[in-house]
C-alpha cells in the first residue's frame, strides 16, 4: 500500500474539515462570573493570610515579653522603685507646701 499517498489523502481530508466556531450560549457571562468569583475568593484569602500573619506576630511579641518578665529577677532595692520615685515627683509640690513655715 502507498503509505505516502494515504498520508497525503488523510491530511487533505483533515484540511477540508471546516473549523467549528460554535460558542455555547452566554459563555462570556460564565467566564465573567468565574473571574468575579475568583477575585472574591482571592480577596478573602488575602484577608485571612493578613490576619494569620498579624496573629502570629502578636503571639511572638507576647512570648518575648513573657520571657523577659519571667527571666528578669525581681528587684528588692527600693531605691530603684520607679513607682515610688514617680509618686515623690508628683507629690513634691504638696510636700514642699506642707514643710513650709
Amino acid at each position: 500500500m502507498n503509505l505516502a499517498e494515504l498520508q497525503r489523502k488523510l491530511t487533505a481530508a483533515a484540511r477540508r474539515q471546516a473549523p467549528d466556531e460554535r460558542v455555547p450560549y452566554a459563555f462570556e457571562k460564565r467566564i465573567m462570573a468565574l473571574i468575579a468569583e475568583r477575585a472574591a475568593v482571592s480577596g478573602r484569602i488575602l484577608l485571612a493570610q493578613g490576619l494569620w500573619r498579624a496573629a502570629v506576630s502578636c503571639v511572638a511579641v507576647a512570648a518575648v515579653c513573657g520571657a523577659v518578665l519571667f527571666f528578669t529577677p525581681a528587684s528588692v532595692d527600693n531605691s530603684n522603685d520607679l513607682s515610688q520615685d514617680f509618686e515623690n515627683t508628683l507629690l513634691a509640690s504638696v510636700d514642699q507646701a506642707d514643710t513650709a513655715p
Binding site: L3, L6, Q7, L10, T11, A13, A14, E28, I31, A36
Partner: protein, 191 residues
C-alpha cells in the same frame, strides 16, 4: 461608541473587570475552533477554553501590545491545548480494531484504487482524527499546525515557544510517527 481593544485592555488592567467581556465575546469563536482540533468531547473543549480565558485575564499585564491581542491569545490557546494533550494520552493506547464500517470501506476503496477514495468523505475525516489521536502530543501539535493548518515553521515556533530547529526536528519525527501509525493500521486490517 465602541471602545478599541487597546482601550478595553487598559481599562481591565486599571481594575474594570467588566471590560474583559467584549474581548471574550469577540475571540471565543476562534478559541473554540482551535480547541476543537485537539479535544473531542464538548466538556473537555469548554474546559480548555475556560482555562485559556482565565489565564488570559491573569496574565493580561504581560500583554505589551506590540502584536495584536489575537496573536497573544492564540499563543496561549495553542499552549493550553498542548498541555491538555500531554495530560490526556490515554487514547493513544487503543488499537485500530474499533474502526467503523464506513472507515473500513474507505480504506478498502483506497487499497483498490487510491484515486477513487474521496478526500471529502466523512470516513476519511474520522480516520485522520483516529490517527491524530494516536500521535504523541508534540507530534500531533506539529502535524496539526504544519500539515493541516498550513502554518510556517516560524509561525509554529512563535505559537509553541519552541525554537525553529526544534520545530523542524519534531516535524520530521512527527511525519515518521504518522507513517508508522498508518502502517500499523493497514497491517492490522489487511495482513
Amino acid at each position: 461608541m465602541e471602545e478599541s481593544e487597546a482601550e478595553l485592555i487598559s481599562a481591565v488592567l486599571k481594575g474594570d473587570r467588566a471590560k474583559f467581556e467584549p474581548l471574550v465575546a469577540k475571540y471565543s469563536p476562534r478559541v473554540f475552533a482551535t480547541a476543537r482540533r485537539y479535544a473531542r468531547r464538548e466538556s473537555e473543549i469548554e474546559d480548555i477554553v475556560q482555562e485559556v480565558w482565565l489565564k488570559a485575564f491573569d496574565k493580561l499585564g504581560s500583554f505589551r501590545g506590540e502584536a495584536p491581542f489575537e496573536h497573544w491569545l492564540m499563543r496561549m490557546t495553542v499552549r493550553t491545548c498542548y498541555d491538555f494533550l500531554r495530560g490526556h494520552q490515554r487514547n493513544r493506547e487503543s488499537s485500530f480494531s474499533e474502526i467503523s464500517e464506513p472507515e473500513e470501506d474507505w480504506l478498502e476503496r483506497f487499497v483498490a484504487d487510491p484515486g477513487h477514495a474521496a478526500e471529502d468523505a466523512d470516513a476519511a475525516r474520522l480516520l485522520i482524527n483516529r490517527v491524530l489521536e494516536k500521535l504523541a502530543p508534540d507530534a500531533r501539535l506539529v502535524i496539526q499546525l504544519l500539515e493541516i493548518e498550513d502554518r510556517s515553521v516560524k509561525e509554529i515556533a512563535e505559537l509553541t515557544g519552541w525554537s525553529v530547529p526544534l520545530v523542524k526536528v519534531r516535524a520530521f519525527r512527527a511525519r515518521a510517527e504518522m507513517r508508522k501509525i498508518l502502517a500499523r493500521m493497514t497491517k492490522d486490517k489487511y495482513l
